[in-house]
């Protein structure tokens, strides 16, 4: 029920709506719940609504940390 999918904003439409692309598939969603979205932003889509913008800098930071943790575990073994 609470699962969401990451999607990229392809087009902003009137009335707080937008077209997003999910792995090449287009979907019309509501962006009434998220401020200041632009084409190219990534959002989490849940039951037809964008819930939050995904922060690419934080995503990159988490991935780097994960890689570091993974390699630390590797060295330990």
């Amino acid at each position: 029920m609470c699962l969401s999918v990451p999607a990229k904003i392809a087009k902003i439409l009137p009335n707080d709506m937008a077209i997003v692309s999910i792995d090449g598939i287009s979907l019309e969603i509501s962006i009434a719940l998220v401020d200041e979205l632009e084409v190219g932003d990534c959002v989490l889509v849940h039951v037809g609504y964008a819930l939050a913008k995904i922060d690419p800098v934080e995503a990159e930071r988490t991935l780097e940390l994960l890689q570091e943790l993974g390699s630390a575990g590797e060295r330990r073994s």
């Binding site: 029920m1 609470c2 699962l3 039951v47 991935l63 994960l66």
Partner: protein
Amino acid sequence: MKFADEFRNKAIAQGIARAIGGEVSSQRAYRFMEFCGGHTHAISRYGLEDLLPANVRMIHGPGCPVCVLPASRIDMAIRLVDRPEVTLCVYGDLMRAPGSQGQSLLRAKALGADIRMVYSTLDAIRLAEQAPSREVVFFAIGFETTTPPTAVMIRIAEKKRLKGLSVFCNHVLTPSAMHSILENPKIRDTGGVPIDGFIGPAHVSTIIGTQPYEPLAEQFGKPIVIAGFEPLDVLQAILMLVRQVNEDRNEVENQYSRVVTREGNRRAKDEVSQIFELRAQFEWRGLGLVPNSGLKLKPAYAQFDAETRFAIHDLRVADNPACECCAILRGAKRAVDCKLFGTVCTPETPIGSCMVSSEGACAAYWTYGRVRDEPLRRTS
């Protein structure tokens, strides 16, 4: 998929698992409850439990809104849809949720009730626009993640003057349930299990932020790590919890910083607070009546409240006594401990709601876990 596939890397997962193995103390047990069904699903689907040391145990919590919805609310919806003028809109995973005496919305639909599966509250608006003579009722269910879309629907209905659209509200609140699990003496003393920390909800926290968990961590001395739903997210969260336990810290930490902030989504919270208010109590399957854990529409929006509009009265319905959903939901038993599991209760013929939703503990175990345990069960 961008922002999903990168968090499923097998080699990194194995490395983090080894890091967890290297940091746990063999002298103690680590019992972590993942509150969300989404985490339960990820743990089962990616076999994460197999990567963990034997003294790190994951306990499946009550964080699946279909699983915690009591049979009485299904029965109330079925009574509602007995009215010939009503069209009921529901999210798909609710269709097979068990009511009492073998009833479900799917069965009611087969018997002729006008029940429509919808993907979004936007679909309910379209239906109400297309059929102005019908009473279109949206069966609203879900945690804080799913509540803002219901609020937006009501606001649009008000703006468009859709007089035939209303909401049967079953939205529930996560921190109240976590509080209940930790505080309820009945759960603590009769079949609950000790919990050393929580993996906190991912998408609920996109809305409410990490702040609402801070009093829980402090009051009960339990570390909480908010984590995303991908396998690397979950493994990193487990490592962060292990470190907190080892260092005797009880903090709220945010693994899911690419989406979750401390404040959450202010706009979504505003939408919710304009439309909804707290119920004094709400019944949860497995937890009973939990104070301040459910939402209802504010009196100003009574015209959109199906319970007021159709004078639906509260029902109390006993669960099937053989079903162990309640104990499973509070971490006291595992799916295999239930004698109905895999016999009469399967995803095709669910008895308890843990088997209905794909995020439920029993359904996750049925789909991904039981094959893994087969050799063990055979030799036992």
